[in-house]
Amino acid sequence: MSEMKKIKNLKEFSTSADRFEGANLLCPGCAHSIIVREVLNATNDDLVLAASTGCLEVCTAVYPYTSWDASWIHIGFENGSTAVAGAEAMYKALKTKGRLKQPDRNPKFVAFGGDGSSYDIGFQWISGCMERNHDMMYVVLDNEVYANTGGQRSSSTPIGASATTTPAGSISYGETRNKKDMMGIMAAHNIPYAAQVSPNKWKDMVKKIQKGFATEGAVFINAVSPCTTEWKFDPKDTMHLADLATDSLVFPLYEVIDGHEFNITYRPKNVVPVEEYLAAQGRFKHLFKDEYKYLIKEWQERVDANWAYLNRREEARV
């Protein structure tokens, strides 16, 4: 049986044996390392990990160093999911054949990718892994931009964000397309478990990760990862940004079981206006010019509509 850690407070997190070392090259204030640590520390079981090319990968495995004290693999930009699926297939084969070196272990298979490698270039690979229902967890570190390559838009970049390939300018307010609904698409694979998480709500996150680890079959996790460099906020404010994301309902926390059972897992006591979330980030600065203020209003309407939609889904159980 897999072993779920009892984590009641942050101190228990900080005293856990780190299988992801603090010695890495991620930016000060990057949420990636916080999310990764929260995922790995949710279990005492052995881990087989993968990362697609991206910030996490280039900052944690630069030869001759590694930040990983667990089995870890990187292949390319699009295939971290399939790397872990292949390893999981090998685990099953060796288990059948009685050739596992430590047959009493109960390893967890986890792949990490940014939104670039998940929403865009690796989309098909993830879809394949989810559809085949490998016993694995895929975690998106969703910072809504190609951060590793310097801030190009991805299909996760929301309307109005200025990215280097959709820069705000005298006749442009930046990104014109709305963020892709990756959760909806992944849940539509009817996988056993899909959840959206945020590092500030760590109890909610640990609960979901442990639920995912206890699930047999494919698990999809979308984690908001505020990016100090590309969202343009002070590195000390990472958790504040995560608070604004969850409490404005721009990034609602919910889970979908078997593709239809919606549960909203966090209902902010005081919902923050979307405007506050936008105002805290340099990437939306231009929206506060008079000619673009209508976009802020539209933002709020979109977030309200999405929240209402999620509530209807929760109620209807379909």
Binding site: S71, G76, T82
Partner: protein, 407 residues
Amino acid sequence: MAFDKLELNETEVWDGNHAAAQALRQAQVDVVSAYPITPSTAIVEGYAKFKSDNLVEGEFVMVESEHAAMSGCIGAAAAGGRVATATASQGLALMAETLYQASGMRLPIVLNIVNRALAAPLNVNCDHSDMYMVRDSGWIQFDAFNPQEAYDLNLIAFKVAEDHDVRLPVVVNQDGFLTSHTAQGIHPLSDDDAFNFVGEYKPMNDMLDFEHPVTHGVQTEEDWHFEHKARQHADTMNIVPGKIDAVFAEFEKLSGRKYNQIEEYNMDDADVAVVCMGSSVETAREVAGEMREKGIKAGVVGIRVLRPFPFAKIADVLKDIKAVAALDRSAPGGAAGALFNEIAGSLFNTDSKMLLSGYIYGLGGRDLTKKHLVDLYTELQANADAGKLLTQQQQFIGVRGPKLAFL
């Protein structure tokens, strides 16, 4: 549930695809991660059927693209076990990125490439443009000329790839349709003999050894990348050829079938010779025999190991030949044929007076007929008699329209 073994006849009638599938079964591959594509599909279909019939215990992962197929193979191989797949043409092109990753990570994977033309125009038939596209991808590359060899070389490939001094992936090429779909009498090994020859998989740096966590697929920039690539090339050039020869010798002892890095036919006293690959080798051998009756001392060299290219062996066998033709079954795209270049590279800076000409043939499955080869040998003999090339250095044969010759 234990799997069942098969009692094979001394002679089975198998095509190249089925022969390869049987070899994967006998090697007791742990994971096959695959995506179907003509003309290689029957290999993975064969494996799937073996699985359905309880003839293999391994996992079969039917992924959503060839890129994912090799990605899954890489993850599985890094986890620590025997891995194989098959593809062709467009599938190989889509897979190409991951081939470099597999070899750079030194993972022993066996890939069957059932050679087929690359689009455009779309074509399902044999040529070697897919083989050539990935020839510098860091994989060891074998070439089977017939279904028996497709079977044998698959067993050999695992043993070479998984040697801890080698740890490189291996391609086994066979001609699409001409070999893959041509049923011939095959002499297989028994299930036990075949598996004992390949041996138990011995993991190294395996991700599933939780007492020894390992990081696969790191980043190196200008500080270390060159050393990694150079060291790998050094191993490929210095260690791999001897390992291949040793496995060939062991296989001969078991089966009586002798393999060589280059396969010579009537080369001892030959004046003129054809160097080629795939099923054309057998056609060329037949014609070379007939040319002897016409007084032309014709020989054939088949390339069994394309990578690492057997430069010294080629130089040695061709050094006293008067006129040699390099046959390349791939559109050269504004260059000499790849085989032409390798042979030229083998003989350059030697005392050889060999006259070398290149022939582009058989694109998209166009037949190479005996008549083509008779004319070719006759042309080589004329070159030899004249002591110089009487034709242009590169010619296209078997193509309609005005004669195409270059260089």
